[in-house]
Amino acid sequence: MLKDYPVTGKKATRDGFGDGLLEIGRRNHNVVALCADLAGSLKMNAFIDAFPERYVQVGIAEANMMGIAAGLATVGKIPYTGTFANFSTGRVYDQIRQSIAYSHKNVKICASHAGLTLGEDGATHQILEDIGMMKMLPGMTVINPCDYQQTKAATMAIAEHHGPVYLRFGRPSWPIFMPENLPFVIGKGILIQEGSDVTIIATGHLVAYAMEAVASLEAQGISAELINIHTIKPLDEEIILDSVAKTRCVVTAEEHQRNGGLGDSVAQLLARRMPSPQEYVAVNDSFGESGTPDQLLKKYGLSPEAIHEAAKTVIGRK
């Protein structure tokens, strides 16, 4: 890993959500929580125990949950919905679109177990299209934090934002490297490492892998600049353009389909403002399968090695 961001432990990003929810619940009495029969998995039990009168269990009825959240928001509450990411998006797309996004409701859609790292449950549950689906909704803010600390900070920060938010995080234990109590600013990328030969832009779980790739590239004499983009929408155009102006080539890395995620957002920006060679580290238009998180990430091309190779490839395309 990188010396400015030493790994201080391992915890799931969903734990960051649960701890963040409890904390923001303490600070802001308008925060309420909803869940669709997955409170334990979503790590919401601490909030539920502390504030039972501010919690709504809806059972296995996610469409109803989104509507109820919209109604709660209407009367001044700040609802946080909780279920798996696949149930938070595709399943309830029209409900989010009409009752939340188009109605500009202050609902925080908190989506756990996103991506391949959901693991053994397999492809029915491993959503890889959610960033795409959510970013296409006008007015929706889309956030994919990289570790426990960033997820906790994001969970609290979105309570202050006026408007609907999609917050996506994961199941497995994952390295912690972001500083505790670093203020989370929606829409602001974080420059993790300065470099000159290539810009690597990573989100979510793949930031940790990108950091490993930066180290292995450095060992081969390649200077990589690493940007952590946690907010895919609105995208921090300035930090990306400043970097690519310098390096003139990009690798994007995400736990998502190549179609419609972070990579496509960056490509759209560059195509409009600064056309540059870009390589994607993402799932190549495929569903997942059962396996362990590590096995799956490797099999589907999401690894430090894949990022390393993509960087060398894109440098060759300059």
Partner: protein
């Protein structure tokens, strides 16, 4: 109510006098007055839909009596519009396609100028084809149009009011065809489970939908039994009899607060008030032409002044 004479201002109505003295909310119109308002709302609907040759007159006309009763007598609400509606009764329209009746009633009760009714469905208008908060039209709290969602939203608002110990009631209207949407039954189940007893749901039970009578398209079966089995108190009423509407809404209010949500199955005639529109599903989403508009307006007394 107020009559100017040579001697001064004569207040003809004692209730109005009491109200002026006591700062209480506005006087309650009687049945006759409500029927007069309903006649004007029906005129508004025909004119709005005809003007842009688009929209849904059938269900709008069928629900006119209910909407007038709610906004002019039953609900406690005030202007200017407040999204959160603290202390007020809230109304949600789940079958958003009957926006014409809602827009007319909102305007006639003072939320925005009646002249704006002429902008229905026109570009850059606040009066969108289906209701939305997007353009900031006072009175609308959530977008609707894609069916089956409004009951969930109403439940959320009711739960929020309960969390705040707010005494306001939440009213929501759905279509009957709309009850074919699965989300509706998720909502119905949850309202009973969570004992949402500050909620009154009304169903526009006109037996019609786009492709024909509901019995033939997708039969709803014994609706009253279904709602009861899901744990609701269920009332029925003739939705086009103003007196019965007032009495039943009153009864529903008295039955609220007892650990169960209340539903009213409201028998209505689609197109009520215009003879050639009644008795068929044809006028769900079709606008009258010039000749039809004239025939319709001749059957509806102009009582409050056309916009």
């Amino acid at each position: 109510m107020l009559v100017a004479t040579e001697e001064g201002i004569l207040i003809k109505d004692c209730l109005l006098l009491l109200e002026l003295c006591s700062n209480q909310p506005i006087i309650m119109p009687d049945i006759q007055e409500l029927k007069r308002i309903a006649s004007q709302v029906r005129r508004d609907i025909i004119r709005m839909v005809h003007q842009c040759q688009s929209g849904h007159p059938g269900g709008s006309l069928g629900c006119t009596d209910l909407m007038v009763a709610l906004y002019f007598k039953v609900m406690r609400h005030k202007q200017p519009f407040s999204m959160e509606g603290r202390g007020e009764d809230l109304f949600f329209l789940s079958n958003g396609h009957i926006s014409p009746v809602w827009y007319s009633v909102l305007s006639r009760s003072g939320y925005f100028p009646t002249s704006e009714l002429g902008t229905f469905r026109r570009i850059n208008s606040r009066l969108q084809g289906h209701p939305t908060t997007h353009e900031g039209l006072p009175g609308v709290r959530v977008a609707s149009g894609s069916l089956g969602q409004g009951l969930s939203v109403a439940i959320g608002a009711a739960l929020g009011k309960r969390m705040d110990k707010d005494p306001g009631m939440v009213y929501v209207l759905t279509g009957d065809g709309e009850l074919q949407e699965g989300q509706i039954w998720e909502a119905i189940m949850s309202a009973a489970h969570h004992k949402v007893d500050n909620l009154i749901a009304m169903v526009d039970w006109n037996g019609q939908q786009i492709d024909g009578p509901t019995k033939l398209v997708m039969s709803l079966g014994d609706l009253e039994a279904k709602w009861k089995a899901f744990g609701w108190i269920v009332l029925q009423m003739d939705g086009n009899d103003m007196e019965e509407v007032i009495n039943t809404l009153d009864q529903a209010k008295r039955l609220s607060g007892k650990q169960q949500p209340v539903a009213i199955l409201m028998k209505t005639e689609m197109g009520k008030g215009v003879d050639f529109m009644e008795g068929s599903h044809h006028w769900h989403g079709v606008a009258p032409n010039d000749e039809q508009k004239d025939i319709a307006l001749a059957q509806l007394e102009e009582t409050l002044g056309d916009y």
